[in-house]
């Protein structure tokens, strides 16, 4: 059995009752349905289907305070309740497994090492919204995840957890594993819907929201992998137990993908409200900075979120605290940069990514990201001109909040924060045609 060589804190999760997502991810047998069932798998699905009403499940999830783990942090139960009650159309559940945010690799671990948990969570969510056909849209590059899921779905059918008349309740549920075509934008839910329908992956204008008119113009719920994987535990142990995890407004646990200049990059499941500094420095987690250098800055929630400077690191990792600190929890990808990193170079890499991934639909994002890459590239290469910083700020301002989907915002927020925090460094780059810090560190 092949695993992506990613460090996790599964060992801690085995000991700590509260960490439920990662408990079995280091168990190489967990991908098999027999092991999963022996570990109490599919009990929640059986319980939900045989003893609970859909409305009860929605209520339970609402009560648990579970929020979307894909980036926006929207309350999951509330999202489910947006499905129109009286629509005669079929409803669809889609699991968004197009995990492409730079720095994020949490869903991949779940899909590769505990695929049945994802299926079970999806099944419960499907039942809660009255869906009989659910999809998982997996990023095209995640070959192992796709194979794992396909195998797991076959097993689930064979064990009658999916298919016709599940557990004799008369409820039918089918599942489709769909491989994406390799576009970051397809992680945005409306672009994902277009892609799933066979169209070009471009975001749709809202309203109508997917819950009203989504896949094939039918009511649709799109949830992240981690969100759905949390659902069985809420059903098993109850919303009240889930509320005891994390903080008051950000309940539950969250997987943080720690990367960058840390000694132990990896995926760590912690309760929400965990201290960022601890995550970076604690030997059980990040273990400190490479070469024991100083930290320059941290992106706390994936490349789309604003930077935190070194003096802002004593912050708790939950939705509210990070918002207060001027950033976002996002998808939970903590990227750490040490003091020798050239910020202009980092931003150039990021804007290159966003320029490449802009779907090309709406003007500000399509043209703006290309222009920004050219200007920032010029500065990085030592050709910056006076006024370039102001120009970048102005262009960013013309993109922020002016696009159909959040990709435009995602592209400019880190730039704006990088200029805010390290303006002197940008200026130095332009004035002296070289970098203020000593070396560039190539990411591998």
């Amino acid at each position: 059995m092949f695993y992506s060589p990613v460090i996790t804190n599964a060992a801690e999760a085995v000991k700590n009752e509260k960490l439920h997502l990662f408990r079995f991810v280091e168990d190489s047998e967990q991908v098999k349905i027999g092991t999963y069932e022996a570990h109490g798998g599919y009990q929640a699905w059986k319980k939900a289907l045989t003893s609970m009403q859909p409305a009860q499940i929605v209520e339970e999830v609402k009560k648990s305070g579970l929020r979307g783990r894909g980036g926006a942090g929207f309350p999951t139960g509330m999202k489910w309740s947006f499905i129109p009650k009286d629509s005669p159309k079929p409803r669809y559940l889609i699991c968004n497994a197009d995990e492409s945010e730079p720095g994020t690799c949490k869903d991949r671990v779940l899909m590769e090492r505990d695929p049945h948990a994802v299926i079970e969570g999806m099944a419960i969510a499907a039942y809660a919204i009255g869906c009989h056909r659910m999809f998982i849209y997996i990023r095209g590059e995640f070959n192992h995840s796709i194979i794992r899921l396909e195998t797991a779905v076959k097993e689930a059918y064979a064990h009658k957890h999916l298919g016709k008349n599940i557990y004799g309740t008369g409820y039918d549920l089918d599942m489709v594993v769909h491989s994406g075509g390799g576009a970051y934008i397809c992680g945005e839910e409306t672009a994902l819907l277009n892609s799933l329908e066979g169209e070009r992956g471009m975001s749709r204008i809202r309203p109508p929201f997917p819950a009203i008119e989504g896949l094939y113009a039918c009511p649709t719920i799109v949830n992240n992998v981690e969100t759905l994987a949390s659902v069985p535990h809420i059903i098993n142990r109850g919303a009240d137990w889930y509320r005891t995890l994390g903080t008051e407004k950000s309940s539950g646990t969250k997987i943080f993908s720690l990367s960058g200049h840390v000694k132990r990059p990896g995926n760590y499941e912690v309760e929400l409200g965990f201290n960022l500094k601890k995550l970076i420095y604690d030997p059980a987690y990040g273990g400190g900075i490479l070469g024991d250098k100083k930290i320059k800055g941290v992106i706390p929630g994936g490349s789309s979120t604003p930077f935190l400077k070194a003096d802002m690191l004593d912050v708790n990792l939950d939705y509210e605290s990070l918002a207060q600190a001027g950033s976002m929890l996002g998808s939970g990808a903590v990227i750490v940069f040490h003091e020798d990193t050239c910020i202009v170079w980092v931003i150039l890499k990021l804007i290159h990514f966003y320029r490449h991934e802009s779907c090309g639909k709406c003007t500000p994002c399509r043209e703006g990201t290309g222009w920004l890459e050219q200007i920032i590239g010029r500065i990085e290469a030592g050709g910056g001109k006076p006024g370039d910083i102001e120009l970048i700020e102005d262009v960013c301002g013309n993109i922020l909040g002016r696009t159909i989907c959040p990709l435009g915002d995602a592209a400019v927020m880190p730039i704006q924060s990088a200029i805010k925090h390290w303006r002197d460094e940008w200026q130095f780059h332009i004035d002296n045609k070289k970098c203020m810090v000593k070396t560039n560190f190539e990411f591998r």
Partner: protein, 852 residues
């Protein structure tokens, strides 16, 4: 756009909002943009199109709405009660200027050589916003292709379309229109980010029958068509409103012309929501080239010693006078007949009929040159059906639409788009029934391909399904079973080869539909047994009450077919019309009336000796070419007026050059009975004259003026057009006879004659652009069938019937799927009518491969 009263949203049908301090009330569902435009506030747009769903891609239509934190795109924001909208604040202006700046970053500044210059949205907006400087200091992105076929960065993506991706601002209007409105997928967007490009689908050409629209809706010069490119600047042209001469719906168009050169440069749409929705079929857009072609007849021709030689008009008219008088004196005026094209204007058609009836006392005239054996009078169910009122826009709000015996894409493109629209925007249920598969079925809930020659049995089966399932409340429904054979759904369904369950679904939809549009088409009109099928349709109409809860119609085929009916050009006009004609002319000839077919038979018997043909080409279009030719050759004297030398003019004693529809002002009546005016765009070219003037000149020679003045002619036409020519439905159910279908041994395939989607009748092969789309005839068949004969795409196929054979190249069809082959009839080089027998219902043929 919006539903006036949407039951789902409940409450009031309108909303009231404030835009720039003005209060406006609009129907619920209107967008902020539509609301603003309704009170004359202009908000710029690039990607918005009135007939497409909004996408909000270009972002130029920003407005500020109070209580919304960010700028909103007005094209996609639905107007709500109490909204306060500002369209002209600093924030809005800055937002728009930023979008313009973004769009211009990589847009080349080649306005002086760009054909869109002068009518370019981007150019206009750039001037309006005073963006005269650029902060962009990099090389502009330039798309270059390896297979460049034209200069600069242009790429030919279709027979008539050239793409310049550098100019493209990615509003996606072309791709969206192609998909949403036309159902075509030959154009798409490729790549991502700022190098996204619009391009033809890999390995394909943008050659769909609506491709010209893509150029017309392009807001910049990214898509241009070859006919307009580099020929003239738009501000040097003048426009003339006109009507399309090759569609029966009378699509509204604008000619762009230049007076000194007396030349038309292009055609664009003149949007009329009741008729064409602003979309033009390519045949409408490019058919002006029929008039501007240099192959036109220049002078009259007179046959001297077996050869046609040029002559003056005076000479020609003298010959006509002398020869027709000889016939009249020797055999009587009733031995003179005529055939006029149903694409001529009202004045010409009316003059034609008046000339023949008044000067020669002859009732031997017709306007139908391509339908075999049509009835000469109107005392039949077919005429009843064809006279029913129909509204094109009525297709839009129908919830159930049936197309029967018609391939809309080939012959009624306008209605084809309407059916698609009803499906896409109103979720109408579409049912398609035809003896062969057609493209309309893309949007159909059910496609029913019934066996060749069982049209009436299929309709009977639908009626029987309604009876057996007890779906209808028609009081005398019990009578129906006595009038039709077979009398059980099971048998009828088996005979027509459609599953009974399928027929039941359609019957239920017809019964449940709140507004039903039932369209029958050219396959019914062209069919020998049209009366039998029409009887079945009369029963269907009565059983389901279709005419009361919607519309049922046989679509007319030509630009003025309805005008010909309403002005009495048929041998035996409708009784009401006859009465009016009698009053106007104080008397009508009571001689025998012949239709086209009978006239041809009597020519062969030498009982008709003189004949006038105006704009028609029966040799090319009437079934059994040899028969038509022999008949016309037997004539003592034949006059033919046409724009070009044709197969028919070759037989004429005198040929007169006829002016085309753009060369004179005229009225046309479209298939829904709407009278539309086309203005004169050009002076008649060479020595051509409009039909009504030619007839007036000939009548002058006979010293029997047709009209004392133009006003008199117009007032007579006005009086006739006021007559209601709708015929009453039969009382009770009518008997549906059993058709006798001949089977021809050794000829296993059924041949259906059709028009190519880019052609209509015999003139369009003179239009270069249309020839670029399709320049020669083809035989279309299913892939499986081709394989059975060991044929590949493009192979020469010998097509034989018991009376003739032709050789045509093969085209493999994406749609056809049974024992049917199609051949278009528009090409001189492939005389497909020579295969057809006059009296057949089905034209049986066989095919074989031509050895290399």
């Amino acid at each position: 756009m919006a539903d006036k009263q949407n039951p789902e949203t409940g409450g009031q049908a309108t909303v009231t909002l404030t835009i720039d301090g003005l209060t406006v009330t609009v129907p619920r569902g209107y967008t902020v943009l539509e609301a603003a435009r309704s009170i004359g506030i202009n908000i710029p747009t690039f990607c918005w199109h009135p007939k497409l769903k909004p996408v909000g891609a270009c972002r130029i239509c920003y407005v500020e709405i109070e209580k919304f934190p960010k700028l909103q795109v007005s094209c996609a924001t639905v107007a709500m009660d109490g909204m306060v909208v500002h369209t002209n604040t600093d924030q809005v202006k800055n937002g728009r200027r930023a979008v313009l700046e973004f769009i211009l970053l990589n847009h080349p500044l080649d306005c002086p050589t760009c054909d869109k210059g002068g009518e370019c949205d981007l150019q206009n907006l750039t001037f309006a916003h005073g963006l005269d400087d650029s902060r962009f200091a990099f090389q502009k992105y330039r798309f270059v292709d390896d297979d460049m076929t034209t200069t600069f960065d242009d790429k030919r993506i279709g027979p008539e379309i050239i793409l310049n991706r550098n100019r493209c601002i990615l509003c996606y209007k072309c791709v969206r229109a192609n998909k949403e409105a036309f159902g075509e997928y030959d154009l798409g967007a490729y790549e991502r980010g700022n190098i996204t490009e619009i391009n033809a689908a890999p390995g394909r050409q943008v050659a769909n029958p609506f491709s010209g629209n893509l150029v017309e809706i392009c807001p910049v010069g990214a898509l241009t068509n070859t006919d307009w490119r580099y020929k003239i600047r738009v501000w040097l042209t003048k426009t003339t409103p006109s009507i399309c001469n090759f569609s029966s719906s009378g699509t509204n168009i604008l000619f762009y012309k230049e007076d000194h050169k007396n030349k038309i440069y292009r055609v664009t749409s003149r949007r009329n929501d009741d008729i064409d929705d602003g979309w033009l079929a390519d045949i409408t857009r490019y058919s002006y080239q029929v008039i501007t072609s240099d192959e036109r007849l220049i002078k009259p021709l007179i046959k001297k010693e077996g050869k046609q030689v040029p002559a003056t008009w005076e000479e020609a008219l003298e010959v006509i006078k002398k020869r027709l008088n000889e016939i009249k004196d020797k055999k009587g005026g009733v031995c003179i007949g005529g055939l006029a094209s149903p694409s001529l204007d009202n004045a010409s058609l009316y003059s034609f009929a008046k000339f023949l009836r008044r000067t020669f006392n002859s009732n031997k005239l017709d306007y139908r040159q391509d339908y075999r054996m049509l009835p000469k009078d109107t005392a039949n169910n077919y005429s009843i059906l064809a006279s029913q009122p129909f509204k094109i826009a009525g297709i839009d709000d129908s919830d159930v639409i049936v197309t029967f015996a018609t391939d809309l894409l080939r012959e009624h493109q306008n209605e084809y788009l309407r059916v698609r629209k009803a499906f896409n925007f109103k979720k109408a249920r579409i049912f398609v029934a035809n003896p062969y598969a057609v493209k309309t079925a893309d949007v159909a809930e059910l496609e029913m391909v019934y066996k060749v020659g069982t049209d009436e049995i299929f309709i009977n089966a639908v009626c029987l399904a309604a009876l057996e399932e007890n779906l209808v409340a028609c009081p005398d429904r019990a009578d129906l079973k006595k009038k039709i054979k077979p009398s059980s759904l099971k048998d009828a369904a088996e005979q027509c080869g459609v599953a009974p369950e399928t027929i039941k679904i359609m019957a239920r939809a017809l019964a449940e539909g709140k507004k039903v549009t039932f369209i029958a088409g050219e396959l019914l009109t062209r069919c020998r047994d049209r009366e039998i099928i029409a009887s079945a349709l009369c029963n269907l109409n009565r059983l389901f009450g279709l005419n009361r809860k919607g519309q049922i119609a046989v679509l007319a085929r030509y630009a003025n077919s309805m005008g010909a009916v309403k002005l009495g050009i048929s041998p035996e006009p409708v009784p009401a019309l006859k009465k009016e004609l009698e009053k106007i002319w104080s008397g009508l000839p009571d001689t025998e009336a012949y239709n086209t077919d009978t006239m041809l038979v009597h020519m062969k018997k030498e009982e008709i000796n003189g004949f006038i043909i105006m704009g028609a080409n029966p040799v090319m279009l009437y079934p059994d070419r040899e028969f038509v030719k022999e008949s016309l050759e037997k004539l003592d004297f034949l006059v033919v007026c046409d724009l070009y030398e044709t197969e028919t003019t070759a037989l004429a004693d005198v040929v007169l050059p006829l002016a085309g529809w753009a060369e004179y002002a005229g009225d046309y009546i479209n298939l829904e009975g709407c009278r539309q005016h086309a203005e004169q765009a050009l002076k008649p070219r060479f020595e051509a004259y409009p039909g009504y003037e030619i007839l007036e000149m000939i009548a002058d020679k006979f010293e029997k003026k047709l009209f004392s003045s133009t006003e008199e002619r117009e007032s007579e036409i006005d009086r006739l057009l006021k007559v209601d020519t709708t015929l009453p439905w039969p009382d009770g159910f009518v008997e549906v006879k059993t058709a006798e279908i001949e089977i021809e041994k050794d000829y296993p395939l059924a041949l259906f004659l059709c028009d190519d989607p880019h052609h209509c009748g015999h003139l369009t092969e003179k239009a270069n652009s249309l020839v670029n789309f399709c320049g020669e005839a083809y035989i279309e068949m299913a892939e499986e069938q081709a394989r059975a004969y060991n044929l590949n795409e493009g192979d020469s196929v010998r097509l034989e019937s018991p009376i003739g054979k032709i050789i045509v190249p093969l085209k493999i069809s994406e749609h056809l799927d049974n024992q049917v082959v199609l051949v278009p009839r528009n090409f001189t080089s492939h005389p497909v009518t020579s295969l057809l027998m006059r009296k057949r219902r089905i034209d049986w043929v066989r095919i074989s491969k031509v050895a290399e």
